[in-house]
Symmetry: C2
Subunit: 407 residues, 2 copies
Amino acid sequence: MYQINQERLMRYIFDLAKVGEIEGGGCCRLALTDADKQGRDLVVQWMHDLHLDVEIDAIGNVFATRKGRLDLPPVMTGSHIDTVRTGGKYDGNLGVLAGLEVIATLNDHNIETDHPITVAFFTNEEGARFAPDMMGSLVFQGGLDLEDALNTVGIDGSTVKDNLNKIGYAGPRSVGNHPVHAFMELHVEQGPVLEQAQKTIGVVTGVQGIYWTEFTVTGVSNHAGTTPMHLRHDAGAASAAIIHFAQSLPERLGLGQLATTGMVQYSPNLINVIPNKVTFTVDLRNVDAAVLKQASELLFSYTNEIASKHGVEITHRNLADFQPVNFNQEIINLVESFADSHSFSHMHLPSGAGHDAQILAAMCPSGMIFVPSVKGLSHNVAEFTSAEDIAAGANILINSLVHLATA
Amino acid sequence: MYQINQERLMRYIFDLAKVGEIEGGGCCRLALTDADKQGRDLVVQWMHDLHLDVEIDAIGNVFATRKGRLDLPPVMTGSHIDTVRTGGKYDGNLGVLAGLEVIATLNDHNIETDHPITVAFFTNEEGARFAPDMMGSLVFQGGLDLEDALNTVGIDGSTVKDNLNKIGYAGPRSVGNHPVHAFMELHVEQGPVLEQAQKTIGVVTGVQGIYWTEFTVTGVSNHAGTTPMHLRHDAGAASAAIIHFAQSLPERLGLGQLATTGMVQYSPNLINVIPNKVTFTVDLRNVDAAVLKQASELLFSYTNEIASKHGVEITHRNLADFQPVNFNQEIINLVESFADSHSFSHMHLPSGAGHDAQILAAMCPSGMIFVPSVKGLSHNVAEFTSAEDIAAGANILINSLVHLATA
């Protein structure tokens, strides 16, 4: 079995983590910012150093291909290198850099494959600056129109298009009709399940469905001391009721249901003024599409109740709607069997987070490998996975890719 | 009976409202900003035009005195001219400018009084930039130490002292030992009670107690998709529960209890990241000191429950704590009897908002006159009171002041 170079892979990871470094050991490389550009430039340089054929498409996805013996669609691996504002070193980056390490190992040993192998990183996987997340892979796969993606306005008011042009990553490659033989993504779990079960490898069975809604509640600003409770139109009271209700959905629907409000904005945001406008998000996830649908329906029905109870107007817009995805059974089996061959402890689990692999799953056989996240921390500067676990995951990856690349 | 000049009073109001004018007809003159300085300069100019003796004290309160026949403590009237960020034309300003109009009318008719009459405006009544509110009158009355007030850090990180110096309103007059014979304040109701009862004059019996708390909830940031609900330390979920609970206090304790959360700040404030820190305020008010205490105790006890339920740390600091105040019975009777003499419809009511008069009540007989606020709107650019109602209030004021200024 092939064996990657753990030291070289960790060097890739730590070198990329220096770009956009923030206090506490984390990274801030929001999609298409100057920090993202610097990260991209570094990874593209490494791709060239590995003698790969680098192509950039119109949404800024980068594909670096190592030739195969035969003229066949590539086996692809990769992930993303953008981060949330308070991100860690591993989320996304590991999948891209493990891909480069696989190439470097194949180069070291002059190993040829039938299918070409492509290492990709996709634009704006996080969605922390532009919604929806997984934008680049969605456009690549055809699930999101290129023009719609380019015209997306971010949290700072500028568009994807402007930022792609600004950082020089609006590439010449078209976004459609690029067949992929199979796709695999190595990723940190970003949750506590593997660590708690003391397993090294997560055999990922699929990805939770994700449903993001932004609510805007409009009431009437008024003096906090002189307005009797029954005459108020308090956008804040209505919002707190809805956020609190959203938090109760997992108890009602079972622990597989997740609910998070991560973003809240009050206006005018003064102690003694009843808020006239509150904007907030609700992130709902479930592996079960029917229960996820039920969760959003319960939420909207409660929202209507609250709107009439508080005499406020509540509008909402959908920011993301991804159905649960099941990964390819052969790839699931492949990951499991290589984990056995390496004597790595392993378990099956679904992914709680969204990943580019779930988008690729709509166009080719796809799968994922998870390695443990210490304390389950992710989207956090303290995100950590041991070098040994990372190497374990990368060794499953190289063997799986070579297997898939064999005609 | 004396009669003020309605046109001149409305001109004062509209001219001052041009300073710091904002869209929709409102004003933004946060305490001790450049806009506040411009407003102060204009009012001080008017005070000089009325031949008043103008003094500024060390906290920036401004006192303009018309001599009395006798060497006695002054009868004082006034209010404030700072506003909230989205304030109206009348809140505070009316009380100061009606005082000037009273002086102008006395000057017109060469009316002498036994006691001097002082028109005052007090620094930072709103508390929208520096806590606590009613800061200037508190320092004047001795309820707040001058140095503590001067060292207060505002929402933009600068101190009261620096801003007083910057705008040139750190005056030479000392803040203690200035006896006042009586204090009266004309103010818009800022609530819907007079309008709904179709009364012109509110005979104000006292002021609600006010209890402001700022809570800071600290949890752990983590990925919204991969962190099982039972392993979260979600500062947002804990905050929403508390804000929602605070809203339930009026139902539990009776409608005299008010509860408002006007300010909320999430961190890192991203859709798919569990918030690690949320700061929010709770404004509790009641005319009944015992019930107000019970409300805050229920809130703190629930907060402890939520802290342990969600595994988060919750700290709080008190931003304001004013006991309910009863106004002087003779002044209450005076307002009522002049309302009768003028055939103005009237009713007794407590004030829902805090006012400088409640602070002065601790040092001299004090009282207030309310005029109706259309739709109860205040702390809102659409705040409105008709010129006729304003004149009615000012006519009660001039007759009450002359009565009180008679030895």
